[in-house]
Symmetry: C2
Subunit: 113 residues, 2 copies
């Protein structure tokens, strides 16, 4: 593995868990996959369709998202929404994220002193 | 998969990449495995020996850590230190972490407004 591949691998590992968290937070307001993808990328949560769409199906299977078809428009679209269980998990993950963020800040401060 | 297992899985995924980052930052000051483990756990980076020790060997193999034996004491200990490449990766990961943190903050603010 060269340095670029190593860096890419570690970046991917760092990002992976945060995409789940971002989806669960964002989908407290229901939306369909493509709109979610665009809004996450606009915010700086980098994810592509090949990763996001299977993830949405996995989160639905785990009971963290619910979905329904919106047939008001010519082309039906599947809307996802974070379930109560998903909201609970999002809170748990966000608390953990804050804890880790504090820990990393502690490490960096210690290093500078 | 029940809810506890789902939560545990997502928490693990969120934490995984951050352990690498924490090791690379912390080992800018050389230390041996057990001392690193204790200081990370004390800071709130939760990791166990069965995860950390193989990770240290993997990071060394990737050229992100260097190691040397300290034989001053009765029992020789392997000291790890972050390599220049590792310091560079730590900076890259920390920048990405900050970017994701801002994005998540943006999502949470948007939700509250």
């Amino acid at each position: 593995m060269n340095t670029d591949e190593t860096t890419a691998g570690h970046l991917q590992e760092l990002r992976r868990g945060t995409v789940v968290l971002a989806c669960l937070v964002r989908l407290r307001t229901p939306d369909y996959g493509y709109a979610l993808l665009e809004s996450l990328n606009a915010l700086g949560i980098l994810v592509d369709a090949n990763t996001l769409y299977p993830l949405l199906r996995r989160l639905e299977k785990q009971g963290l998202l619910t979905s329904e078809w919106n047939t008001d428009e010519a082309r039906p679209r599947k809307f996802y929404r974070t379930s109560p269980t998903g909201v609970e998990l999002a809170d748990t993950l966000m608390t953990d994220w804050r804890r880790i963020d504090d820990a990393l800040a502690g490490l960096t401060d210690g290093d500078e002193s």
